[in-house]
C-alpha cells in the first residue's frame, strides 16, 4: 500500500493562511473542553435537583422528575441536538427566535450544543443522585427528621453530603461520557475536535495523521479526567465504607 506519511503537515500553514493545522487542532481541543466543562457544570446542578426531586415524598414532584429523566434518556442525543438547534428557535416567540438567529452563528451552535449536552447528561446524573440517596440506610433520614430538621434541611445537611461522596465513581464515567458525547456536536457545524479532524482530512489529504492525532487527543482528555477524578475520589472517600479510609 503506497501511502505517504507526512507528520510535518501539522506545522504547515492552513489553506486560509491564518494559522497552522496544529493551530486548528488546538482550537478544536479548546472548543471541546470549553463545551464539555460548561455543560458539565449545568448538568451537575440540574441533575442534583432532579435527582432529589425523584426521592421526595410528593407524587407531583417525583412524577415530574421521573418524566424528565425518561424523556432525556429515551431520545437519541443526535435527535435532541437537532431539536435544540433547528427546532427550538422556531418554537420560541417570533421576536426571540429572530433575535437568536441574528446572533453570531458560532455562539448559536455553542449554546445549542451546551444546552443539549447539559440536559442529556443531567438526566443521567439525576439517576445517579437518586440511587445514591436511596442507597443510604432509611435511618439517616428518620434520624434527621427526629432531630427536628425540616425535610429540606435533612437533605441539605444529612442525605446529600453522604450521597454525593458515594456516587463519585459513577459520576466519573458520566464526566468522561460528556467529552465523548461532545463529538456529536460536530454534526451541526461546531468546530470542535472531531470536526477539525474531518476538516484536516479535507484540506491536507493526510487522513491517517489527522485522525490519529484527534484520536490521541481524546485519549489524552480521557486519561487527564480519570486521574483528576481519582484524586477527587481519594480525597472525599467516606471513612468506614468500602474503599474508605
Amino acid at each position: 500500500m503506497a501511502y505517504n506519511w507526512n507528520w510535518d503537515v501539522f506545522l504547515q500553514p492552513t489553506a486560509t493562511g491564518d494559522d497552522t493545522y496544529l493551530g486548528w487542532m488546538f482550537y478544536g481541543l479548546k472548543m471541546t473542553i470549553a463545551l464539555s466543562l460548561s455543560a458539565w457544570v449545568i448538568a451537575l446542578a440540574l441533575g442534583a435537583v432532579v435527582g432529589v426531586l425523584r426521592t421526595v415524598p410528593n407524587k407531583w414532584l417525583s412524577g415530574f422528575a421521573a418524566a424528565y429523566v425518561e424523556v432525556f434518556r429515551n431520545i437519541p442525543l443526535l435527535v435532541q441536538l437537532f431539536l435544540w438547534y433547528f427546532v427550538m428557535p422556531e418554537l420560541l416567540p417570533v421576536d426571540w427566535g429572530n433575535a437568536l438567529k441574528q446572533t453570531n452563528p458560532v455562539l448559536q451552535q455553542f449554546l445549542a450544543s451546551m444546552l443539549c449536552l447539559a440536559l442529556f447528561t443531567s438526566a443521567r446524573v439525576a439517576e445517579q443522585v437518586r440511587s445514591g440517596i436511596n442507597s443510604l440506610p432509611p435511618g439517616q433520614k428518620n434520624a434527621g427528621l427526629a432531630m427536628g430538621f425540616t425535610l429540606p434541611q435533612t437533605y441539605r445537611f444529612v442525605l446529600l453530603p453522604m450521597a454525593v461522596r458515594l456516587i463519585i465513581p459513577p459520576l466519573t464515567s458520566e464526566f468522561l461520557n460528556i467529552f465523548k458525547n461532545s463529538a456529536v456536536c460536530s454534526t451541526i457545524g461546531l468546530l470542535e475536535l472531531a470536526a477539525q479532524g474531518r476538516q484536516l482530512v479535507d484540506y491536507t489529504a493526510q487522513p491517517y495523521e489527522s485522525f490519529i492525532a484527534v484520536t490521541l487527543a481524546y485519549l489524552l482528555i480521557n486519561v487527564v479526567v480519570m486521574f483528576g477524578m481519582r484524586w477527587v475520589e481519594a480525597h472525599v472517600r467516606v471513612p468506614g465504607y468500602i474503599g474508605g479510609k
Partner: protein, 226 residues
Amino acid sequence: MHEFDWSSIPGALPFLWDGMVISLQITVTAVLVGIVWGTLLALMRLSSIKPLSWFAAAYVNLFRAVPLVMVLLWFFLIVPSFLESLFGLPRGSDVRLASAITGFALFEAAYYSEIIRAGIQSVSKGQMAAASALGMTYGQAMRLVVLPQAFRNMVPLLLTQGIILFQDTSLVYVSALADFFGAAYKVGDRDGRLVELLLFAGAVYFVICFTASRIVRYCQNKLKVA
C-alpha cells in the same frame, strides 16, 4: 409561533420505514456480533495467558476512550479506502452500510465485554471449583456451568445496552446513510418541514425506547433467580 404543517409525513412513511429497517438491521447485527466478540474479549481478559489479557484490556480501554462519532468516521472515511487498496476492490464500491455495521459491532463489543466480564465474575467461585472437581476442563466448566448462569444475570443489562445502541445508530448520520433519522432529516429538508419531521423522529424514538425499556424492566423481575 411556528405554524405546524404535518402533511409531508404520511406520504413519506414508506421512505421512513426503509430507514427504520436500516436502523434495526444495524442494531441487531451489532448486538449479536458485539455479544459474541464481547464474550471472547471478556474470556481473554480473564484468561491467565498474559498477552491475551493485555490485548483485551488494551482493546476495551481504547474503544471506551474514543467517541463513537470518531469510530464511525474512521470506518466511513479511512477503513473503506484502506480495504479497497488492500483487496484491489473497484473504487467507490458502496461499503458504507457494511462499514458502519462493522464499526458499531467493534465499538459495542468493548462495552459488552465489560458487562459480560462483570457477569462472569459475579458467579460464585465455588461453581468453577465444583465443575473442576467433577472432572470438567476449564473450557467445559466455562461453557456448561459459568456462562449460562452469568448470561442469565446479565440479560437485562445486555438488553439495556441494546436500547442504547439503537439510539446510537442515529449517528450513522455522519456517514450520510439513510437510517431512520437520516431519512427523516432528508424529508424535512426537502419539504422545508424540518421542525415537524425532527419532532416526529424524536417522538418515534421515544415511544420505541420507552416501551423497550419497560419490557426489559418487566423481564428483569421475571428472570430474577429465586
